[in-house]
Each structure stands twice: as structure tokens, then as C-alpha cells.
């Protein structure tokens, strides 16, 4: 049963990913992304990392994805023709994507190797301790960065009003 | 209804200047009302709003609950059966003539046995049969106009009439009478939206002026006839709105004011001039009228309530019924809120007063009448409605003494049992028993009778009143001692019905016309055919198929309606009206309507009736009399409602004196099964009645 579930999740995730990179239809892209993100959350659950799964849903599905859809809906009017992705910088995009992929593989290969996934043990107390203990400065810096970003957006878009 | 004004609490504006209606939280936070005050104010208004709705949720709803859901017409409904007779006549003869010739028409019809009982029993001889004929084929405008020629305000009378037509209806004998009065109302409701194209000013061709004193039913009827004849008519009304007893006497729950005044407006459009708030003898002198007008009709009606002459009847809290009705109808308030009210009297005015007392807030309403409950002069259906609403009837009790407190306010009433109302000679002479009842009431309404008050009107005209204050006048041509003055309505006939007053109005108008055109008022004039029809015993409805039953008038819920002046009767639908019109037997037209009652009556099963009953086309296709079985009893002809079957006098029992035959008509009608009558009874009827009863 668990094997079946594992491969089911994998199938959904890979399909979602393929849809995301192959389609030109923005809404289909969003659906693919949603499927992918949900199956990732499923993986977290599969490995017992409930908190991570919930956080994934909360932030990515409930936040990021919604933001994307809202952005699409405000830019395009749904009654008009289908919004279609068009990109003139195919080559540059490929380079950036490959570089990012390499960076991720290179950076994470030491941390998460096959068979060593052990996020389950951590739990919320551990995460909490980590974030508000040793990693507090980093946490605060990231928070400050986000705030600065928000203020910057306000200044750029609606500052004059 | 208007409760909202009462229970909307003030929203505290002590610390905030926000508009009172604002209920949203944020308004305070987003608008200028910032800070703690705004915050607190906003929450306070939220709580207020919740409080109001919670209070609403726990008060009893005030909506009308319809007692019966109307079944809609099925898709196949293509109109009521249209009568195509096998006897060669298809049209029901309509009684149409001006008032001048109408009496002759009725007398002829009666003499030739062509007068339908509904028409004969109506004081104004309204052609109800013709109305039903139009109604069955959906010609509502024609139906309305036909009825209006005689009863001048079908919409109004369709709500308040005491319908003697239905009492005489032949269908009483078979099952239930036709709903003639409700059909007036249906016709009015169909006519009202389109009436603008029919109601037109009539030309004034005669150059003569007639003044009418009083805008009640009688005055309006006379005015309508005279306007049609081309006279210039002006009505003087002492109240601020026209309608007379219809307006201030009949409560709004029976007759909504917009209907009455809508129909009076039609008369005004046709040329009747009405001057309100004008009291003869006060605002205009009678001499002035005599000088200005060529003829005068006094139709002032009855204005004063009679009092029984018991001790304490001048105490504060004792009132005449007419004043009481006027107060409750005009203002919806008669000063009896929360009190116990006793109405003395057993007539329709007493019932109206009692039901009005409930509606203006009385706590308990008693009705005491001399007559026992079987003999009550009030119409039984009104008594029944009053009982439904919670009026306490105390029949067989006469007034003895009004009990007063030190400040001369009513505190109760002592009643005495009444043994008999009339003496051997039939005169009013009640005898009382020895049992006394004391009721604790704060208001007493006297509804034992009404009298006329004509002193101001006749002063200076040469007319004299008799010692009881009545105006001596002729009761068939409605003349008075002074040639140019006529009198009609209840001030001549005494208390009666609206339709009877209208009938006198027609007669008075005829007299005025004869007078003004120089003819003799009474010579070679056909008098009204006043017929008395026996009351039918209630028919046995056990085996009557539902399609034959009368359309049921829906009523509003008694507990609810007794609190305000909402309509009591809710009216029939157009579909029910069509079906009801089709139920009419077209009495005395000599046209077979295929009712199949002859086949059901025949004791020897020798009559075969075959009827086609398609929508839009109902006709008798076969009528067969098996002479080998027939015993010549004549029962079929005896009961035939239309007179299509007649006895020829050629058979052996024809010499037999039929008046002495004893047979029970109710017994002789059988269930349709087993007889040789075919054809469903008006398929449409089934549909409109839903078959669910």
C-alpha cells in the first residue's frame, strides 16, 4: 500500500512538473504547479513530517499559488482570449534554470542523500528551538529583508498616491 | 407591520455623530470617528443591530398564512366548456335594458317562466345567470359591465353583498350554489386593470340638474341611472369621502377602501359630480337646493344609533354602533384598547361592531342579543366568522342596566335573559326572564337599530317628518309630499342591505326621469317583481363528486386577522372563476346544458344522456328516452333546472296535482354510477379544485 502511494505521489508530482514546463496555457500551468506542490506536501506527510506538510500547504498552496492566480487574473481579463506564455529569451532562461538546478543539487547533495531523510524526528519543538535559538539572527534578518521588500514594492507601485 | 418604529431603540449617539443607520463595525474605524470612542460606538451599534433582529426572531411573524394552496391549471386547460346545445340555441339570453324598462323585462320573464331564481331573488334583479355565462367563457369585462348595469359597483358588492341570489340558486338543491358573489369580485379584478378604455364620460344631453343628498349605495345608483339618461347630477355628501354606509359603516376587512373608491371614481369619470364635506342645512340650505335643481333625491340613509332606554345608558363608555364603527374605520382606534367590550344587538351591524372592536385592540368582546342563536338576524356566515375570531356570543340576553362607577364611567353591564322577542301578533315585544348576568366591561356599544336624522334636510322644503322622525314617502315609486323631492334608500325602507338600497335608487331615478320628462310618475309603470323564494334545505353532499362542488373561498387565519383590518376573504383565482361560471345550470333558458340530473333522477333508468365534454365545447350528443320503461312520473321534468324538459300534458298522469306529490328531491338524485348519464362533469372543475379534498 505504501509503495503504491509513493509511486502515485511521484507520478502526480512528475506530471505536474512536466505540465509546468511544457504548457503555454497559464492556468494549466497553475494547476500543474498546484498538483506538484500538493504532492510534495504529500511526501512530507508520507515521511511523517506533518508540520512541514502543513507549512507547505499553508505557504505554497494557500499563499504563493493563490498569489500567482490573483496576479494572472488581475493582468488578464478572463473574458478575453486565453493568456499564453511567450518568452523571447528561451536560451537565457534555460541557462538560468540549469544553473539553479545545479546549485540546488550541489548544495543539497551533502545534506539530503537517498536513505537519510530523517525530518520526521524533528517536530515542532525542535523547529521552534532552532528558529528562536541558534538561528534567531538569521531568522530576524530574513524577516527584515521581507519587510524591506514589501516597503520597496509599496514605494515603487503606489508611493506617489 | 408598523412595529419597526416601535421597537427600534435609539442608537446611543452621546459620543459619536455617526449616522443612526450605520451598523457596520468598520464605519466608525474608517471614517472620521477614529479612536476609542469610534471603536466602542461601532461595537455598540453592532450589538444594537443584533438585539433588534433577535427581538424580531422571537416575535410571532405577521404574514398572512394562506389556508389552502391553490392548484394551478393543468397544461391541457383550454377554457371552460362552452355550451353548444342540442336544442338549437346556443346563447344564454342576457337581461339588458335601462332601468326604465328593466321592471317590464323581469315581469315578462317571470310571466313566461324564463326568470332565473337568482335574478328573481335579487332586489335589484342582477342578471347573475348572464354573468356566469360570460364568466364561463372568460369574458370578464362583459360580465362586469352586465352586472354593473344593475348593481352599479360589482367589485364592492362582490365583497359585501348578502347574496340572496345564492340563496335562491337552484344548484342549492343538487349540491352547492354557484359562487355568484365571489364571481363579481373575480370579474372586478379582471376588469380593474383594463377599465380605463371602457370608462368614459357620458354626454349631458337633457340640460336638467338633479341633486342627490347622500352618496351611499342608493344615491350612487340613482346618480348612475340619471347620468346614463343624460342628466346633470350632483351628489352632496356630509362626510369627507363618498360611499355613505359603505364607507363608514362597513369595516375595511370586508371592503378595502381602494376598491370602493375606485368604483366610485369610475362613476365620477362617467359624469357624476360628488361634493363632499357638505351638510345640507348647514353648508347649503335646502331652499337653495330647491331653487338650483330641477329635482332632489334624498338618500341620506340612517345616521343615528337607537338606544334601548336602560338605566345608565348615558354613562361615559356607552356608544352607538355607528359612531363606534366610524371611529374604528376612520382612525383604526376607538379607545377600547385593552378593554372588555359588550356589543348589544344581534344584527349585522352588531357583528361588524364586535369584529371591529377586536381589531382596534379590545381584550374580550361580548355580543348580547335578545334572539336565541338560531334566530339571530345577522347572516350566519358572518356570525361564524365572528365566532372564529373569538367574539363571545351571549344570545338570549337583553340589556337591563349599565353599571357605572362614581365618575360615571361604565364598569359593567347587567343582562337579563330574554324568553321571547315577538308576541303572538308578530310585533316586537320582548318578554324577559328572571335570570341576571353581570359582565365586567369598560365599554358598551349599542347596535340595536338605527334611525334617520333628516331634520336639517327637510327644514324649509315643505316636507314634514312624522313623530318618529321618519320621512313619509311612497315605497314603490319613492315620491314625497313635495313633487320635485324624491327619497330612496334606507331612510325610506329602514335598515336593510346594500343591494336593496341600490334597487330603490334605480326606482327613484326612474321616477325622477318620468317627473322631469313630464310623464306621470306612477301611471302605466311596471312595478318591481318582488318574489319570495323558499330557502333550500342543505343538500346531501355525501355522494357528490368533487367536481360538482362550489369553489372554496379561502379565508385568512382567524387568530391573525382579528388583530388588524386585513382582508378576511382572500378571493378566488381566475381559473376557479371560470370553472365556477361553468357550473351554472343556466336556469329557465330552455337550453339543455347536459347536467344529466334527469338521468340521475329517473326511477326507471329510462333516460340515456350522452355528453361530449371537451374543453371549449360541451354538448349533449345523444338524448334517449326509453318509452317502454317510462312510467310517466314526470320527475325528470320536475327537476330540470333549465326547463328544457317540459311536460306536455299528453300522458296519463298529467292531470295529477303535482303540488301534492310528496317526494324528497334530495333522495331522488342518485350517484352518477349506475345511471345512463355519460360525460364527466366539467373536467376543468377537477383541475381547479385539485381533487385533493
Amino acid at each position: 500500500m505504501s509503495t503504491v502511494l509513493f509511486y502515485l505521489l511521484a507520478a502526480v508530482a512528475i506530471t505536474g512538473a512536466i505540465v509546468v514546463i511544457s504548457t503555454r496555457d497559464v492556468m494549466r500551468l497553475v494547476l500543474g504547479l498546484g498538483a506538484f506542490l500538493l504532492s510534495v506536501a504529500g511526501y512530507y506527510l508520507f515521511y511523517g513530517a506533518t508540520f512541514l506538510a502543513i507549512a507547505e500547504i499553508f505557504i505554497y498552496v494557500g499563499g504563493v499559488l493563490v498569489l500567482v492566480v490573483v496576479a494572472i487574473m488581475t493582468v488578464h481579463r478572463s473574458v478575453e482570449s486565453e493568456p499564453v506564455l511567450s518568452n523571447r529569451n528561451t536560451f537565457g532562461a534555460a541557462v538560468v534554470a540549469l544553473a539553479l538546478f545545479g546549485l540546488l543539487v550541489f548544495g543539497l547533495s551533502g545534506v539530503v542523500a537517498p536513505g537519510t531523510a530523517s525530518v520526521a524526528g524533528a517536530g515542532i519543538p525542535a523547529v521552534g528551538d532552532m528558529l528562536l535559538g541558534a538561528l534567531l539572527p538569521h531568522f530576524e534578518i530574513v524577516g527584515g529583508l521581507l519587510l524591506a521588500g514589501l516597503v520597496a514594492v509599496l514605494a515603487i507601485t503606489g508611493g506617489e498616491r | 407591520m408598523a412595529v419597526d418604529d416601535v421597537d427600534t431603540p435609539e442608537i446611543d449617539t452621546g459620543e459619536s455623530s455617526e449616522p443612526k443607520v450605520t451598523q457596520g463595525t468598520v464605519s466608525a474605524a474608517t471614517t472620521d470617528q477614529a479612536g476609542v470612542a469610534g471603536f466602542v460606538g461601532a461595537w455598540k451599534s453592532l450589538a444594537t443591530g443584533l438585539g433588534i433582529t433577535a427581538k424580531h426572531a422571537f416575535t410571532k411573524p405577521v404574514t398572512i398564512q394562506y389556508p389552502r394552496e391553490k392548484a394551478p391549471m393543468p397544461e391541457r386547460w383550454r377554457g371552460a366548456p362552452r355550451l353548444v346545445s342540442a336544442m338549437g340555441t346556443t346563447e344564454v339570453p342576457l337581461m339588458e335594458a335601462s332601468s326604465l324598462e328593466y321592471n317590464g323585462l323581469i315581469a315578462d320573464a317571470y310571466a313566461t317562466d324564463h326568470l332565473a331564481p337568482c335574478q328573481g331573488n335579487c332586489p335589484a334583479n342582477v342578471d347573475a345567470r348572464g354573468q356566469n355565462y360570460h364568466a364561463a367563457e372568460g369574458r370578464w369585462v362583459e360580465a362586469y359591465q352586465l352586472v354593473r348595469e344593475r348593481n352599479i359597483m360589482p367589485g364592492t358588492l362582490g365583497r359585501i353583498c348578502h347574496h340572496p341570489c345564492e340563496t335562491a340558486c337552484k344548484r342549492n338543491f343538487y349540491d352547492e350554489p354557484i359562487a355568484i358573489r365571489p364571481l363579481h369580485r373575480v370579474a372586478y379584478e379582471q376588469w380593474n386593470p383594463v377599465k380605463a378604455q371602457y370608462v368614459k364620460p357620458l354626454p349631458k344631453t337633457r340640460g336638467k340638474k338633479v341633486a342627490i343628498i347622500g352618496s351611499g349605495p342608493s344615491g350612487l345608483a340613482a346618480a348612475y341611472d340619471l347620468v346614463k339618461l343624460g342628466y346633470e347630477v350632483k351628489i352632496f355628501e356630509k362626510e369627507d369621502k363618498p360611499g355613505g354606509a359603505l364607507y363608514y359603516g362597513i369595516p375595511a376587512y370586508r371592503l378595502p377602501r381602494d376598491i370602493l373608491h375606485g368604483e366610485i371614481d369610475d362613476l365620477v369619470t362617467m359624469g357624476v359630480e360628488i361634493q363632499c364635506s357638505t351638510k345640507i342645512g348647514v353648508d347649503i340650505s335646502p331652499e337653495q337646493l330647491m331653487a338650483d335643481y330641477d329635482a332632489i333625491i334624498i338618500a341620506a340613509g340612517l345616521q343615528i344609533s337607537r338606544f334601548p332606554g336602560v338605566k345608565g345608558q348615558d354613562a361615559i363608555g356607552v356608544r352607538g354602533a355607528l359612531d363606534f364603527l366610524k371611529d374604528s374605520n376612520y382612525r383604526g382606534e376607538a379607545g377600547v384598547r385593552g378593554q372588555n367590550v359588550l356589543v348589544i344587538g344581534g344584527g349585522n351591524v352588531a357583528v361588524d361592531a364586535a369584529r371591529c372592536a377586536l381589531r382596534v385592540g379590545a381584550k374580550t368582546v361580548y355580543m348580547a342579543s335578545l334572539e336565541s342563536d338560531e334566530q339571530l338576524p345577522a347572516h350566519p356566515w358572518e356570525v361564524e366568522e365572528a365566532l372564529d375570531e373569538g367574539v363571545v356570543m351571549m344570545c338570549g340576553n337583553g340589556p337591563n342596566e349599565v353599571l357605572v362607577d362614581e365618575s360615571n364611567h361604565v364598569r359593567g353591564m347587567r343582562l337579563q335573559t330574554c324568553l321571547s322577542v315577538f308576541d303572538e301578533t308578530g310585533r316586537f315585544n320582548p318578554t324577559f326572564g328572571d335570570d341576571f348576568t353581570e359582565l365586567s366591561v369598560q365599554s358598551v356599544v349599542m347596535a340595536i337599530g338605527q334611525g334617520s336624522d333628516l331634520k336639517d334636510i327637510v327644514a324649509g322644503t315643505g316636507l314634514e317628518l312624522d313623530q318618529r322622525g321618519n320621512l313619509p314617502s311612497d315605497r314603490s315609486v319613492f315620491t314625497t309630499a313635495v313633487p320635485k323631492i324624491f327619497a330612496s334608500g334606507e331612510c325610506v325602507t329602514g335598515p336593510g342591505s346594500a343591494i336593496a338600497s341600490i334597487a330603490t335608487g334605480h326606482e327613484a331615478a326612474t321616477s325622477v326621469h318620468r317627473f322631469l320628462s313630464g310623464e306621470s310618475v306612477s301611471d302605466d309603470r311596471v312595478a318591481r317583481t318582488l318574489l319570495a323564494y323558499d330557502k333550500y334545505a342543505p343538500a346531501n353532499l355525501d355522494h357528490v363528486e368533487p367536481s360538482r362542488l362550489r369553489a372554496v373561498m379561502p379565508f385568512s387565519d382567524p387568530d391573525e386577522r382579528s388583530k388588524d383590518f386585513r382582508n378576511v376573504e382572500l378571493g378566488l383565482t381566475v381559473e376557479e372563476g371560470l370553472a365556477e361560471g361553468a357550473r351554472c345550470l343556466r336556469c329557465e333558458t330552455n337550453i339543455c346544458v347536459g347536467c344529466t340530473f334527469c338521468a340521475r333522477t329517473c326511477p326507471d333508468y329510462c333516460i340515456t344522456v350522452e355528453r361530449r365534454d371537451d374543453p371549449g365545447d360541451r354538448m349533449v350528443t345523444k338524448y334517449d328516452l326509453d318509452l317502454s320503461k317510462c312510467c310517466f312520473c314526470g320527475l325528470c321534468a320536475e327537476q330540470c333546472p333549465t326547463g328544457a324538459l317540459q311536460m306536455s300534458g299528453q300522458y296519463e298522469l298529467s292531470f295529477y296535482n303535482r303540488d301534492l306529490t310528496l317526494f324528497d328531491k334530495g333522495e331522488m338524485l342518485r350517484d352518477v354510477s349506475g345511471t345512463r348519464a355519460t360525460g364527466a362533469d366539467a373536467a376543468a372543475d377537477h383541475a381547479s379544485k385539485g381533487e385533493t379534498t
Binding site: 494557500g62 473574458v79 | 451598523q23
Partner: protein, 316 residues
């Protein structure tokens, strides 16, 4: 292995629960609305008009499932699922009896706050896929509102989590003490209001306001798909009321066992009635008022509540 099957059974059960709550909710709503407006509400059908629901349900089920010509079929078809599924799955962490929840997890409260937020996607997809202006506007409004109100809602729940020291609903309900109620009253009020907005119900029903947007994000839906939107609304209301009574009102307190379940049910029903009460009392808000309420009123209130709870904890 049994876990999976348990999940399936529970999913079906929760679905049935949502269905029942929808049917009863629609009837209750019409009754409450009727009485508030001094009417009777449904009353001609048998048994106080309850059978009205049966009629309505049959009508909905047999109604034609209309697809607008211009709609995006795929998205149009699955959008209602995005609305109902999260609501149904969020019911999994509710402790229906003292000491028992279908899924007894240490972060149940976070789960409840996070999973229904997926239904924002449903609103957006529905609004987008119908390809008409009303629906798009409704979808956008709904999304903006639901995202904004997640903030005060989560913060208000945080107050009780601080008091209990756990995010596990079962433990929290066991820990609950009656004096928490006055202490967390502000949080409860904030939770109540924010929940109404999360559910897109009046007076926050800007996303579907039928007088302006003709139904908003479900303008073009009919039949069973429309019923699924109704299910998400009434199921969501039931879920919010269940969660509210567990977190703020002590769930099965003061009883346990079967009687405790009854207590929880009564609290839930009362809360649901309060939701309806609010809907039929207040007029619909303007979009700017809506946002201001969330950011300028409810969020500060929730923060004040957190401070209060912090002080109380320190004082203990």
C-alpha cells in the same frame, strides 16, 4: 494499512456530515432569516417545512448540469471540488469526543487553519473558468478577502494555543478551563468575525453578492456543482463552528462521553445560528471597509489579545 482505510472511511463520513449539515443548514438559514424578518420561512412542507429540503435536494440533483459555452470546461468542472474537499478534510482533526479525534496530530490546529485555505484556489478557479466579468470579480474579491482574514483568524487561535501550550486539539480540549473563556473573549470575537469572512458569508459576502455580482464566483454554476458550493459554505460554517466550540468554548466541557458529544453538538448549533443571525442582521460591507476591518480592527484586536494572554501566563 488500517490507517489508510480509516482515512477513507473517515473521508466518506466527513463528506456525509458536510452534506447533512448543508441540508439542515439551508433549512435553518431560511427559518432563522424568516423569523428575523417576521416571516415563517418554509412551513408548508411536512414537519415544520423540513421536507422542503428533500424537495430542494431532489430538484438540485435532477437539474441539468449546465456548462456555459465560453467556459473552460476542465477547470470549470473541478473548481467545486477545490471548494468542498479541503472543508471535508479539515474536519479530520476535530475532537468529536473527549480524548478522541479521527486524526490526533500534534499540529491539528495548524492543520485546520491551513487546509481550508486551499479553497481560495477553488474560488479563484471557479471565478476564472466561467470567463465572465461577474465571476472574475467575485473570484478576486473572494480570494483577497479570504487571504486577508486568515491573519486575524490564525492570530486569534494563537491566544488559546499559548494558554494550552499545545497545538494538539485533543489535548487542548482536555486542558481547557472555564476561566479561559473570559480571558480569550476578544480572540473568540475576532475568530467569529474572521470565520464569517473566510466563509464568504454575509455581511462579508462581497464575493458572491447576488444583488451586484449575480452570485459572484458561482454565477454560471447549476445543479450538483452549484450544490457543492453550497456544501462548502454550509460545511465550512459547521466546521468553523465545531472548531470554535472546541478551541474557545471547551468542546465537550463540562461533560464527557456520549453526553459530551451532545454538548459539543449543542455548542456548534448555537454558533451556527449565531453565524446566521449575523448574516441576517448586518448589511453587506464595502470592499474598502472589509479590508479595513481585517487590518485595522481585527488584527490589532488579536494582537492585544495575545499580549493579554502573555501577561496572564506570566502572572500565573
Amino acid at each position: 494499512m488500517t490507517g489508510y482505510w480509516g482515512g477513507v472511511v473517515w473521508g466518506l463520513g466527513a463528506g456525509v456530515l458536510v452534506g447533512i449539515s448543508t441540508i439542515l443548514g439551508v433549512w435553518g438559514e431560511r427559518k432563522v432569516a424568516g423569523h428575523i424578518q417576521k416571516r415563517y420561512g418554509p412551513n408548508t412542507a411536512p414537519v415544520f417545512g423540513i421536507f422542503q429540503l428533500v424537495y430542494d435536494l431532489l430538484k438540485l440533483l435532477t437539474k441539468e448540469d449546465i456548462h456555459p459555452k465560453q467556459a473552460r470546461r476542465g477547470l470549470f468542472n473541478i473548481a467545486p471540488l477545490f471548494m468542498t474537499t479541503p472543508i471535508i478534510s479539515s474536519l479530520v482533526i476535530i475532537p468529536f469526543a473527549a480524548g478522541w479525534a479521527p486524526l490526533d496530530t500534534s499540529i491539528g490546529i495548524l492543520f485546520f487553519l491551513a487546509v481550508p485555505s486551499i479553497s481560495v484556489l477553488g474560488v479563484l478557479f471557479a471565478g476564472w473558468s466561467q470567463r465572465n466579468t461577474y465571476a472574475s470579480l467575485g473570484g478576486l474579491r473572494g480570494a483577497a478577502q479570504m487571504i486577508s482574514y486568515e491573519v486575524p483568524r490564525s492570530l486569534s487561535v494563537l491566544a488559546v494555543v499559548m494558554l494550552a501550550g499545545t497545538m494538539q486539539p485533543v489535548t487542548l480540549m482536555g486542558e481547557w478551563r472555564i476561566w479561559w473563556l473570559p480571558v480569550t473573549l476578544i480572540a473568540f470575537v475576532v475568530y467569529f468575525i474572521a470565520s464569517i469572512a473566510e466563509l464568504n458569508r454575509g455581511p462579508f459576502d462581497l464575493a458572491e453578492c447576488d444583488s451586484e455580482l449575480v452570485g459572484g464566483y458561482f454565477t454560471d454554476y447549476s445543479g450538483i456543482r452549484w450544490a457543492m458550493f453550497m456544501m462548502s459554505e454550509y460545511g465550512g460554517m459547521t466546521a468553523a463552528a465545531l472548531f470554535g466550540s472546541v478551541v474557545f468554548l471547551g468542546g465537550t466541557w463540562p461533560l464527557s462521553g456520549v453526553l459530551g458529544v451532545l454538548v459539543l453538538l449543542v455548542k456548534t448549533v448555537l454558533l451556527v445560528i449565531a453565524f446566521m443571525w449575523a448574516k441576517w442582521t448586518f448589511p453587506r460591507m464595502r470592499p474598502d471597509q472589509l479590508m479595513a476591518t481585517s487590518w485595522k480592527v481585527l488584527t490589532p484586536m488579536a494582537l492585544v489579545q495575545i499580549v493579554i494572554v502573555g501577561v496572564v501566563i506570566a502572572w500565573l
